[in-house]
Subunit: 458 residues, 2 copies
């Protein structure tokens, strides 16, 4: 028996037959974003408990075996990609919602639990879980913590980081760090959980989490508005911040090139407003009382229209109408089709830089790559926009163009998707050599053997 | 010239005469919380810029000179205490508000700026800064970041951590880490700023920060209510979370022993409600429209009274009346006088454990230390309560009593004050040996010479 075979058998002894996949059960799983590729790893280990994972990591640590932690594989930056010599750690069997404190609004889960059941359990307990996005049927809480997932409600509730009160993590050497804090306030030394959130599985493997729930909204108001200048868009965001008293829960901007394409040009979605305005915003407010809420929402938008800051507006009369607008916003498929082969970007930058950044980029693209389309949209309330550019022949040249300008205006090459393998080369546009050196120091001190998701981020 | 004298002269060469204090200018400053003691340090170095501090730390690093970073000295856990061999780094001359982006609600400051001017500048720009507490005239932003300061509005806006978008930090070896991010979303590798926030100056010295501002409130509603059971208190918090739609900005609970003492017994404050109920809550809501806001506030409280969950209530008719209630809540002086010599605690624990924890502690105290008073109050919305116990003869015995029970219910020995020297011994009640080992690993990797605030936290 080779060393390699011996390791597999030792792993099987820890996690049992059900906990170990090899051969076709591995190669039938993907190796890249969007479900592409075939996983070449030695095995997929599926521990049933923190204790099992701890034993697995002690073994891997002793033998220098690298591991790639997997969540629901809904990430977009190839942070789950394996080499032949890697072993996958999948938390998919650790998918229990352990406890809900309905008085305090706190939920304790295993890391492999999927987002959708978390939403459902929170709702059943009279609360809501505040991070949501299209992949809710597959994304796992552990992966969402490892990537600090964002979504559409960040403007109100923050990213995944703001929903995590406590964590349990298995370290590279198998040590279990339990920081299962349940309180909003806890200033007892370093806040270790912050280190693991968003570190893409390179510092430890999240096994359990204490999640903060938010009060349930009984009323949601949705509107789609047209604006005639970027200054109006920024002004609208600011005014709604004051006038809606913190209840603004989504502020999704579409440049005309996105809206016009999704409606008139592609014919995929209905144009609820004329398509000749330069900017559109899909906005949402969450409150307690439908009647009071609607009154307030109408009054605020009415005033903004009277003052000339909003050019046109549709206020959704039903959740169905709102769902149609969200379907347009989230129609990544049509976007990819129109720009195929596409380059999709997830960037953030100060709002004051946004208009000229996007305009300059569009001009340069038109000049250098005539026939290439760019559509722009995103969570402007968080400084986060997405760009869809294509068809792209030389992806690397387009990436360089997008990221170089971004670094100059204090922007970020990844707002919410992370770095993984895909953006590794471009990380220096957003992080200084000194910052990268500190990151490497941290990695070295917590995972000196470079066993955890090697090669990801840097 | 001794080595010691030589170092002082080298420091003087970097920061100039104005930047260096020695002799009486050092010993006239305090060495403990509450302004007690006399600072025994070799010198107080007051750099005027990040570059100066970087040069100072390079020198100290080369010579193995330990440093103690100082903010406004308003902390309560002796995190600024020096030994004779230490040098103080005070950021008091780096007190400039560098920039306000009034469109985005972002403020860039030097770390030595005091909280009060930050509030004023934010207000002038049409925004608010969301952390506030009594020591606003002295507390510095850098110290507030280093200690992850809390305060009265955490239930709505979070602690200092949630107000920091970006940081600049000088490391133990003088390296400057600039992570002056301005965006809400930035997933480019490890979120380094999180490491420094709340680490009490043991990992780096904060020199500049990008602060997140919040929309200004144009209307504040304040009420003082009496409740007949702890279940009603917890239920009120939950109901207001839903009914006030996230606008609840303070939820300060007083056990009867606090309220009765502050009013009838001490005669210091007016009793606006009868003092025979077991619990009282001072609560506040922030919104945009005074008329709509008052209507909503009255309606919600009216319903809760009709349903029997609130026993009695006063809704403040003026900001003066609200200020009087807040003055009672914040009257630490009267509290200390009544329990002198006192032991004051800042703890957090799950709300479901709170009633029995406090009751059990009170019984044990009454049994073992007859004649000792305990008053209980705090930010219950954050799971954070304060205990004032006294007169205390054997402080250590009382501390052990409070903290031992706390560890058993998943509580924290420090909710918002930090660890410093004062709570170092009790940290293991809230943190496991594995957590402490990771903290030590981090400290060792970023400050291997143990130069930064040595002996604090652990």
């Amino acid at each position: 028996m080779s060393n390699q075979e011996a390791l597999i058998e030792q792993l099987r002894n820890i996690v049992g037959d059900k906990g170990l996949l090899t051969g076709d059960d591995v190669s039938s799983r993907p190796n890249e974003s969007w479900g592409r590729g075939s996983c070449p790893a030695r095995a997929i280990v599926r521990p049933a408990s923190t204790e099992e994972l701890s034993a697995v990591m002690k073994l891997c640590h002793a033998q220098g075996q690298t591991v790639v932690p997997w969540g629901g594989l809904t990430g977009l930056v190839d942070a789950i990609t394996c080499r032949e010599e890697d072993v996958v750690i999948s938390l998919e069997r650790m998918n229990t919602i352990e406890h809900i404190d309905a008085e305090a609004g706190v939920m304790t889960v295993q890391a492999g639990v999927v987002l959708q059941p978390v939403h459902e359990a929170a709702n059943d307990a009279g609360w809501q879980f505040a991070v949501d996005f299209g992949a809710r049927g597959s994304a796992q809480i552990g992966g969402m913590i490892g990537t600090n997932a964002g979504g559409n409600s960040v403007v109100r509730y923050g990213m995944m980081r703001e929903q995590v009160l406590g964590l349990e993590v298995v370290m590279a050497d198998g040590t279990v760090i339990s920081s299962m804090n349940e309180m909003l306030k806890n200033n007892t030394g370093y806040d270790l959980k912050q280190l693991f959130i968003g570190s893409e599985g390179t510092l430890g493997i999240v096994t359990r989490a204490v999640l903060r729930l938010r009060p349930q909204a009984r009323s949601v108001q949705t509107a789609f508005v047209a604006l005639d200048s970027f200054a109006d868009v920024a002004g609208l965001l600011r005014r709604l911040g004051v006038e809606l008293e913190g209840k603004l829960s989504a502020f999704e901007v579409m440049w005309r090139n996105f809206y016009h394409f999704m409606t008139e040009e592609s014919g995929k979605h209905q144009a609820v407003l004329p398509t000749n305005h330069p900017y559109y915003v899909l906005l949402e407010s969450e409150g307690a009382d439908p009647v009071r809420e609607e009154e307030q929402f109408m009054a605020v938008l009415g005033t903004l229209m009277e003052e000339g800051h909003v050019a046109d507006a549709v206020i959704c009369q039903s959740s169905q109408q709102a769902a149609q607008l969200w379907a347009m916003r989230d129609d990544v498929e049509t976007l990819i089709h129109a720009t195929f082969p596409p380059a999709i970007f997830d960037i953030s930058l100060p709002i004051r830089e946004m208009e000229s950044y996007v305009d300059d980029l569009a001009s340069t693209l038109a000049e250098r790559y005539p026939g290439t389309r760019m559509v722009t949209f995103g969570h402007l309330g968080d400084g986060n926009i997405h760009l869809g550019i294509g068809p792209v022949e030389d992806k690397h040249a387009i990436e360089s163009l997008v990221y170089e300008r971004l670094g100059q205006v204090g922007g970020s090459v990844s707002a919410e998707h992370g770095i993984g393998l895909e953006k590794r080369e471009f990380l220096p546009h957003s992080r200084s050599p000194e910052e990268l050196a500190v990151m490497r120091t941290l990695k070295q001190s917590l995972d000196p053997g470079n066993l955890l998701n090697p090669g990801k981020i840097f």
